[in-house]
Structures are given as structure tokens and as C-alpha cells.
């Protein structure tokens, strides 16, 4: 669940360009604000006081009015010029973001679900393709080109330290490109209201050094690890026989459901249920027994199982590194 999640801590060229634009806007707007408030304060301070009975000043004083006209004209012209500068800066930032070089890009399909993220790597190559959920790894220094789709309602992809957001809209496909320039863990969260558990729909992006990323890829492409202890074996049997297998996939087993996150390597992820819980043996067992108490409204049903069975399932899933 930890991870950098702040517009002011950019870790890629696009977020950096946006942060520069933000800084320029902040300085300009603060300057304008202070200038106007100071003028207003001085005006109020210096204006003579009156009461409701004071006769209104119905006739204009030509000299005073001319001076006021000049001041107002000057202020409006200054505002227009500043707006033009900001407009220009905005266009430049937009251009910088749109022109990220995409040679050698990592291709990922990101699909939004209520309330989790499905990421498919190398979607066009069945031999190399694999899926993961709610936690993506990307290589440092290489652009990532993501194709965005939604399965049910509108979601929005947003990892503030890497790039601006883009909506995932049912029936439409869009793309977003970004690059992480520093290794680290970057947190993102769905930014378009998507129902009951909009609050619990985080996406972790782990930016690895290229070598680490390649190692991660190799592991992810392998089928799920065989259980090594009796308890883990019992856990796998339970998963295959219980309702888990209806919705989840664990590659190399009878669990081939497509409605819910792919669990082939769930043990390697840092969190459960799209950032709702830390991924520990205890929290896995609790979550499986009663998901609704942690994430009310989620599609996953509770699993009525004996505590020992829950522990076995949790042990098996934890071993799926």
C-alpha cells in the first residue's frame, strides 16, 4: 500500500513537465492574488467613511474617472497578457507530454473492473502474454504504452507521480504513455467514481531497474508454483474444489475463472483487494472468510470454511511467488 502518490513528487518526464507547469501557475496566480488583494485593501483603507445618510455622489468627476478608466484598462490588459503567457505555457507542456518517444515501449493492456485493475502484458503475443492484477511492474527508463479499456463502468487511471489521468470508458479504447525515470513504488488510485468501492481501487506501479524487471517477467511468465508442503497441497485442493476456481485463474491448475484477479503469482504482490489490505497470511485468511466486511459491495462472496482450511488456502496463496 505504501508508495509515492503525490503530484509534487514527479518520477517521470511527463509528471515533471506537469509539475513545472504547476509551479509556474502557482507563482503567477499567487502574484496576481496578492496584487489584487493589496490594491483592494489599500482602496478600502484609504476610502473615506460615510453613513447611509451621506448624499450619493451621483455626478462623475471627469479627472478622477479618467484615472480610474486608465487603471482598470491597465489591469485588464495585464490580466490578458498573463493569461496568454499561461495559455502558451500550457500548450508547451501539453506538447512535451504528447511527444514522449515510444521506441522500445512496453505494451500493457489495462482493464478496469469494479473494483480492481487487470493488467495484461504483451497482449499481442500469446506465447509471452500473462496477466496480473492491481500491481504492475515497469522498467525504469523505458516508455510504457498502455491500452485502456473498461469492463463495466467508467474508471480512471491515475498514478500522480508518473503522469496525468485518463479515463477507461466502456465501449471505447484509449491509450496513455508514460515513463518512470527513477526506481520506486508509485501508488495510483481510480479517479472516476465507479460505485460502492471506488475508495478501495488502488493500483501499485513498481518501477524496477531493467535487470530486476526482466527477472520479474521471467517469473510471471511461468505457471504457478507447485505446492511444496502438505498444507499448501491441501490449500490448492480446496481452491480447486471451492468456489474460488469459478472466478479466479491460477495457471497450471483447475482454477480458470476470468471474472476476478489472476492469482498465479499473488504471493509476490504487496497488497490484497486493490490496496485494501496488506498481503499477509492472516489478512488473506480474513479476507477470504469475509470480504464484505473489508470492502462492502465487492463481488467476491464469503467462503464458508473451517479455520484450518482458511489457513491452508492462505498458505498456498502466499507460496505463489
Amino acid at each position: 500500500m505504501n508508495g509515492i502518490h503525490d503530484i509534487r513528487l514527479p518520477a517521470g518526464p511527463q509528471a515533471a513537465a506537469l509539475f513545472d507547469l504547476w509551479t509556474l501557475m502557482l507563482i503567477t496566480c499567487t502574484g496576481v492574488f496578492v496584487a489584487i488583494i493589496v490594491v483592494l485593501a489599500v482602496a478600502v483603507w484609504r476610502a473615506p467613511r460615510a453613513t447611509a445618510k451621506t448624499l450619493p455622489d451621483a455626478d462623475a468627476h471627469p479627472r478622477k474617472e479618467t484615472m480610474l478608466k486608465r487603471s482598470v484598462g491597465f489591469a485588464v490588459a495585464t490580466s490578458a497578457v498573463l493569461l496568454f503567457v499561461l495559455l502558451f505555457a500550457s500548450f508547451i507542456a501539453d506538447r512535451a507530454i504528447a511527444t514522449l518517444p515510444l521506441d522500445d515501449a512496453v505494451h500493457i493492456d489495462l482493464i478496469g473492473h469494479q473494483f480492481w485493475w487487470e493488467a495484461r502484458y504483451d497482449p499481442s503475443d500469446p506465447a509471452r502474454s500473462f496477466a496480473t492484477a492491481n500491481e504492475m511492474h515497469v522498467p525504469v527508463g523505458r516508455p510504457v504504452l498502455m491500452t485502456l479499456r473498461a469492463d463495466d463502468v467508467i474508471h480512471s487511471f491515475w498514478v500522480p507521480s508518473l503522469a496525468g489521468k485518463k479515463d477507461l470508458i466502456p465501449g471505447r479504447t484509449s491509450t496513455i504513455a508514460f515513463r518512470a525515470d527513477r526506481a520506486g513504488i508509485y501508488r495510483g488510485q481510480c479517479a472516476e467514481f465507479c460505485g460502492y468501492q471506488h475508495a478501495h481501487m488502488a493500483l501499485i506501479v513498481v518501477a524496477d531497474a531493467p535487470a530486476d524487471y526482466e527477472r520479474w517477467l521471467v517469473v510471471q511468465r511461468q505457471p504457478a508454483r507447485e505446492p511444496s508442503t502438505a498444507q499448501e497441497r491441501r490449500g490448492r485442493d480446496l481452491v480447486e474444489r471451492a468456489s474460488c476456481a469459478m472466478c479466479h485463474t491460477i495457471s497450471g491448475t483447475a482454477a480458470r475463472g476470468r471474472r476476478a484477479p489472476d492469482l498465479s503469482h499473488v504471493g509476490s504482490r504487496s497488497s490484497l483487494a486493490a490496496g485494501t489490505l496488506e498481503n499477509t497470511a492472516a489478512s488473506r485468511a480474513h479476507w477470504i472468510a469475509d470480504p464484505q466486511s473489508y470492502k462492502p459491495g465487492v463481488d467476491m462472496p464469503p467462503l464458508a470454511a473451517a479455520p484450518a482450511d482458511l489457513v491452508a488456502i492462505s498458505a498456498y496463496l502466499g507460496a505463489l511467488q
Binding site: 505504501n2 502518490h5 503525490d6 503530484i7 509534487r8 506537469l18 507547469l21 504547476w22 501557475m25 496566480c29 492574488f33 489584487i36 488583494i37 490594491v39 483592494l40 478600502v44 484609504r46 476610502a47 460615510a50 453613513t51 447611509a52 451621506t54 450619493p56 455622489d57 451621483a58 462623475a60 474617472e65 480610474l68 487603471s71 482598470v72 490580466s79 490578458a80 493569461l83 499561461l86 495559455l87 500550457s90 507542456a93 501539453d94 507530454i97 469494479q114 463495466d152 463502468v153 467508467i154 500522480p160 496525468g164 489521468k165 485518463k166 479515463d167 465501449g171 471505447r172 501508488r187 479517479a191 472516476e192 467514481f193 460505485g195 460502492y196 471506488h198 475508495a199 490496496g275 462492502p296
Partner: protein, 666 residues
């Protein structure tokens, strides 16, 4: 002596009364006529003609603009309080991480209801209520042009609002957001009747808004006092006119869109279903084409309040009157070209994004121009430091922050970062509270003596102002920073590791101060109604026509309709002709004038109070409620409003004969 007595010969002895059927026909007798020299008998008769009779039927039939306007204002303020409580609940839910004060289901209903109530049941109606109350007084006439339609609008509004709250209290409150994006609000994901209730409510409140807007537009264009040419029209009237014309263009859009969603939900159409060739994004275009101008329906009337308060409290006419009028009109036009800036994250083409960024920046210029004109007026005036002026000064501070963050949000790339985060929540509250609620309080303190005949306590008002000013900044300023720290909107909880706890707590604390300020206001109103200082006709030394009549105004507004020759008729020496005379004192009669030059045009008989607008609103309610629960109700239920409207408009033979006789013998 008068302008109109030439235009309308005073002898009309054979004229018959049109609608006061309770009185026997008095053919041949000299009719009682109004006018400056008409005498006390005519004045008493005029007052009797315009006063509503006591009783429940009469209460439900009332159509005087002061009655309806005040009802709109009071009802809207009640909804403001209710929506404020919801906002407070949300802030307290978010004050700590992983809070269990409310769950996701209730939280989603809360923020949907908060937004819907504030936008549809508070902000637009309260502004229209002020316009209904003030416009006829400011233009020098006795009622609005279509008072029965407006009465019907009020009943639709209050019944629709109560239905929405009834649904909310019975756990059927809408929960898809005040923007109700499909597919979340569509048939597949918006389960139950919650979104249906929202669609119906929107249709209701938009119908209300449209009806009042048509009434105000017509009133301003056709019922101004002789001599009040467009050049002599006060800025408040310009603001009301621009707003009303905007409403006429924008409201039908959202009514249409809400009905299309309802067809999808009810009849199985596929307007927004991508699987069947519909488009989920279409809803957003339709909604925001209305939704962005909506912000300006709230903001522009508030600019009208500011432009009414500043000249009075700076003791000089507004500097740059013409520039402000042009700014208001420009704002009205430009506000229709910005809607896509709510949708920058939806993959808008690059060229389109640049266009809407440029438009969003451009609308800052007319607003800046007005701001500088107001500051120039204050700088060159002599100031009366009373509560209304204080609220105006607070408006400058808060609106300026909201406007500047608005420029940031108008920039596409920056918007892609802060869109749908707490930065936007902060921005929109700065704009709407600074741009509408502060001016609204200025307006309430300014016109309260006119409406009630009592002055609100200035000392309590200043306390309220400072509490509110501090409270609003404490509640909403930290939200900017939360947005930068990545906090998305519309989440019902968050984990402690996110680090959003401290600023959220500050915000909740600010909300408590706001609550105190609102309680102080309620106390001030209650106390002043009974113990407040009695108000003379013109307690602030204002220059526009509403200050020329007693406080509270007589039922007929003016015993003789005024003739004006300047923008601030009470500040400049009167012309040769000061009043219209010769209108009937026995029936509700007024004078229409030409649109541009305000030359006397025709006499106009206002409709008398009738129960039918109320009955029609009940019939429409029955139809809409029935159609929420049954598809058949959608078809068969239409019969009910049809009957009610037929009965309302059914021509009366006697009335028709009398109206023809008026036309032949004016």
C-alpha cells in the same frame, strides 16, 4: 401630469372587470383608477385588489411575486441547511482514516444528495427567488408577467424536493453522483429505483427553472417602468436577464438527457449502451453542456447582487456600468463553450483540447473586468462599512482564489493531474461559496429590511461574517493540498498510510466553524423578525426603485407606477413626469412597455389567483411518481396533468366577453 394618462384616456366608465367575479358588475359607474393624485379611496381599493384573502385555498392559490419569491427563498434556504448537514457528515466521516461513521452505501447517497440539493434545490431556486421578489420592484411594476406559471413552478419545486428527501430518508436516495454518469447510472449498474428518483427530480427542478426563467425574461423585457430604457436598467436586472436567457438555452439539454437515461432504464432503449451501438460518453457531453452554464446561473445573479450592493455602500454610481453589462453578456455566451473542460480525461482530440483551454482562459477576462470595475468603485467611493459590504469584500478574497484555481483547471495538462481530486473540490467550493453564498448573504442583509420591515443586527452579522470567512478557508483551503497529495474525490474512506488524515481533520474542524456561523445567522433572523430595528423605506440610501416604496412593500408594490429617467432614480432629480396614472385599482392591472426604449405599449391584466397551478403540480407529481414505479404509469399517468392543464386553460365564456369588451373600449 403623467405620461400614461395621455396614452390611455382616463374615461373608461363602461369597462368591466375581468376576473374579480365575486363582485357584482358595476356597469356605468366611474371606475377607481390609480395614480399619484388618485386619493386614498383608490389606494385602499388597490391594496385590497392585490392582497390575498386568508384561508388555505387562498394560500395555495397565491401568485403574487413577493409571496412566491419569498417562498422560493425560504424553501431554498431550508434545503441549503439540509445539504450543509450532509456536507458536514461527509467531512466528519473523512476526518479520520478508516472511519466507520458511515458506510459506502450511505456515503454515496450523501454526496449525491449534497451535490444535487445544493445545485438543483438551493443555488438556482434561491437566485430565482430573489429575482422574482426584486425584479418587479426594481422595474416598477406590480407582478411578474406569468404569475400563475411561476406559482405552479414553486409547487413543482417544493414537491419535487420533498420527494427526493423522502426517497433519501427511506434509503432510496440516488447514489450515482449529482452528475449521474452512465453506465453507473444506467439500467445495468444503477440498480433499484435510486437513479430513477434522481432523473425525475432533475426533470422537476429543470422544469421549475425554465418556467421561472421564461417569466423573468418576459417581465424584464416587457414590464419595465416607462423611461427605463435598456441603458437605464440597473445591473441586477441585467444579471437576471442574462441568467434567465441562459437557463432557457441550457435547461432543456439536461431534461432531454435525463429522459434519455430514463428511457434506457425504463423502456430498454440503448442511447448510452455501447454494446448496442449507444455511447457512454454522449451523456457527459449532454450533461456538461448544461452543467457548465449551470455554474454561471448561480454565479451571474450573485454578480448582480454585488453590483447592487457596492454602489449603495460606496455612495456612488457603479464605475464602468456599460463595461459590466457587456461582461455579463460575454460571460453568458462564453459559458456555453467550456463544457469539455469537465471531460479532458476522456480522450478528447488534441485540437479540441486546445480550443477548450483557450475558451476556459478567455472567460476569465470579463470576470476580471468586472472585478476591477468594482474595486475602482470602492476606491473612488465613500464607504459605509456595514455587513453587506463586508460580505462583498469577503467575496473578493474567496472568489479570487476560486477563479485563479479555475484558470489552473482550464489548462488541459494540469487538469489531467488534478481532475477528480480534492483540488477540484476545493476549487468548486471556493467558486460557489465565494461566488454565490457570500453575495447571497450580502443580499440577504441588504434586502431583509425591504422584505420584512426589520433590519438584521449588524453586530451579529459581522460576527457571522468573520466566523464564516475563517470557517470556509479552514474547511476548503487544505483540500487544495490534499488534491496535490493525490486524494481522489468521492471516496468514503482512506488508509492511514496515505497521510491524508491531518488536513482532512482540519477541514472537518473548519466545518464546525461554518455550522456555528450558520446558527448565528438563523438566530439573527429569528431575533430580528421580532425585535429588529424597524426599517424605513430606504434604510441604506439606495438608488433603485425598490427603495422608493415602504418596507415591507404594499401588496400592490406601487400606488402609482413610476416613470424613470436615470439608472438610480432615487439619486437623481426626477424628470417632468414622475408617475403613470389611470390603471384600474379594481383589477390587477399593469402596463407593458416596449423592449428597448420602454415606451408605454399596452395595458396588461395580470391573472388573478387560482388554485389550478397547484392542482396541475399535483397532477404532474402523480404522473412522475407513478412512472418511477411502473412503465404503464408513464403512459397512463399523462392523462392526469392533461386534465389539470385543460381545466387551467379552459376558456371562460364570461371572461372572454369581458376581455373583448376591454379591447374594444379600453
Amino acid at each position: 401630469m403623467t405620461a400614461a394618462s395621455g396614452a390611455f384616456p382616463s374615461d373608461a366608465g363602461s369597462r368591466t372587470r375581468a376576473r374579480e367575479r365575486s363582485q357584482p358588475k358595476k356597469g356605468g359607474r366611474q371606475r377607481l383608477r390609480d395614480g399619484a393624485g388618485a386619493g386614498s379611496r383608490a389606494a385602499a381599493e388597490l391594496e385590497r385588489t392585490w392582497t390575498d384573502k386568508p384561508g388555505v385555498i387562498s394560500f395555495l392559490s397565491a401568485n403574487g411575486h413577493k409571496t412566491i419569491g419569498l417562498r422560493f427563498i425560504v424553501t431554498a434556504l431550508c434545503f441549503f441547511g439540509a445539504a450543509g448537514v450532509m456536507g458536514g457528515l461527509m467531512r466528519h466521516q473523512l476526518a479520520t482514516a478508516n472511519s466507520h461513521l458511515v458506510g459506502p452505501d450511505f456515503y454515496n447517497q450523501l454526496f449525491t444528495m449534497h451535490g444535487t440539493t445544493m445545485m438543483f434545490l438551493f443555488a438556482v431556486p434561491v437566485m430565482q427567488g430573489f429575482a422574482l421578489y426584486l425584479v418587479p420592484l426594481m422595474i416598477g411594476t406590480r407582478n411578474t408577467a406569468f404569475p400563475r406559471m411561476t406559482a405552479c413552478a414553486y409547487w413543482l419545486y417544493v414537491i419535487g424536493g420533498l420527494l427526493l428527501f423522502g426517497a433519501f430518508l427511506s434509503n432510496t436516495g440516488p447514489d450515482a453522483g449529482w452528475f449521474a454518469y452512465v453506465p453507473l447510472a444506467g439500467p445495468q449498474y444503477g440498480i433499484g429505483k435510486r437513479v430513477d428518483v434522481w432523473n425525475m427530480l432533475v426533470t422537476y427542478s429543470e422544469a421549475t427553472g425554465l418556467m421561472v426563467a421564461v417569466d423573468i425574461t418576459t417581465t424584464i423585457l416587457k414590464l419595465r417602468a416607462p423611461g427605463m430604457t435598456l441603458r437605464h436598467m440597473p445591473l441586477f436586472l441585467w444579471a437576471s436577464l442574462v441568467t434567465s436567457v441562459m437557463i432557457i438555452f441550457a435547461m432543456p439539454m439536461v431534461m432531454l438527457a435525463a429522459n434519455l437515461v430514463q428511457f434506457d432504464r425504463m423502456l430498454g432503449t440503448h442511447f448510452f449502451n455501447p454494446a448496442e451501438g449507444g455511447d457512454a460518453l454522449l451523456w457527459q457531453h449532454l450533461f456538461w453542456f448544461f452543467g457548465h452554464p449551470e455554474v454561471y446561473f448561480i454565479f451571474i445573479p450573485a454578480l448582480g447582487f454585488i453590483s447592487a450592493v457596492i454602489p449603495t455602500f460606496a455612495r456612488r454610481p457603479m464605475f464602468g456600468h456599460d463595461a459590466i453589462v457587456l461582461s455579463l453578456i460575454a460571460t453568458g455566451f462564453l459559458s456555453f463553450g467550456l463544457w469539455v473542460h469537465h471531460m479532458f480525461a476522456t480522450n478528447v482530440p488534441e485540437l479540441g483540447k486546445s480550443f477548450f483551454t483557450a475558451m476556459s482562459f478567455m472567460i476569465a477576462i470579463p470576470t476580471a473586468l468586472q472585478l476591477f470595475c468594482w474595486i475602482a468603485t470602492i476606491a473612488s467611493g465613500r464607504l459605509v462599512m456595514k455587513t453587506p459590504l463586508l460580505f462583498v469584500l469577503g467575496f473578493f478574497f474567496i472568489l479570487l482564489i476560486g477563479g485563479l484555481t479555475g484558470i489552473m483547471l482550464g489548462s488541459v495538462p494540469l487538469d489531467l493531474q488534478v481532475h477528480d481530486t480534492y483540488f477540484v473540490v476545493a476549487h468548486l467550493h471556493y467558486v460557489l461559496i465565494g461566488g454565490a453564498v457570500f453575495p447571497l448573504f450580502a443580499a440577504i442583509f441588504y434586502w431583509f429590511p425591504k422584505v420584512t420591515g426589520r433590519v438584521l443586527s449588524d453586530r451579529l452579522g459581522k460576527w457571522q461574517f468573520w466566523l464564516f470567512f475563517i470557517g470556509v478557508n479552514l474547511t476548503f483551503f487544505p483540500l487544495h493540498i490534499l488534491g496535490l497529495a493525490g486524494m481522489p474525490r468521492r471516496i468514503y474512506t482512506y488508509a492511514p498510510e496515505t497521510g491524508w488524515g491531518f488536513l482532512s481533520f482540519l477541514s472537518a474542524a473548519g466545518q464546525v466553524i461554518n455550522d456555528l456561523s450558520m446558527l448565528l445567522f438563523a438566530f439573527n433572523v429569528a431575533r430580528s423578525l421580532f425585535k429588529g430595528e424597524r426599517a424605513p423605506a430606504d434604510p441604506w440610501g439606495g438608488g433603485t426603485l425598490e427603495w422608493s416604496v415602504s418596507s415591507p412593500p404594499p401588496a400592490c408594490n406601487f400606488f402609482a407606477l413610476p416613470v424613470v429617467s436615470s439608472r438610480e432614480p432615487l439619486w437623481t432629480p426626477p424628470g417632468n413626469v414622475t408617475h403613470v396614472s389611470g390603471l384600474s385599482a379594481e383589477i390587477r392591472e399593469g402596463l407593458t412597455t416596449t423592449v428597448i426604449d420602454a415606451l408605454p405599449d399596452t395595458r396588461y391584466a395580470y391573472p388573478a389567483p387560482e388554485i389550478w397551478p397547484f392542482v396541475a403540480s399535483l397532477a404532474v407529481t402523480a404522473w412522475l411518481v407513478w412512472s418511477i414505479w411502473s412503465v404503464r404509469g408513464f403512459a397512463w399517468g399523462l392523462i392526469l396533468p392533461a386534465i389539470a392543464f385543460f381545466a387551467w386553460y379552459w376558456p371562460d365564456k364570461k371572461e372572454s366577453i369581458e376581455e373583448i369588451s376591454w379591447e374594444t373600449e379600453p
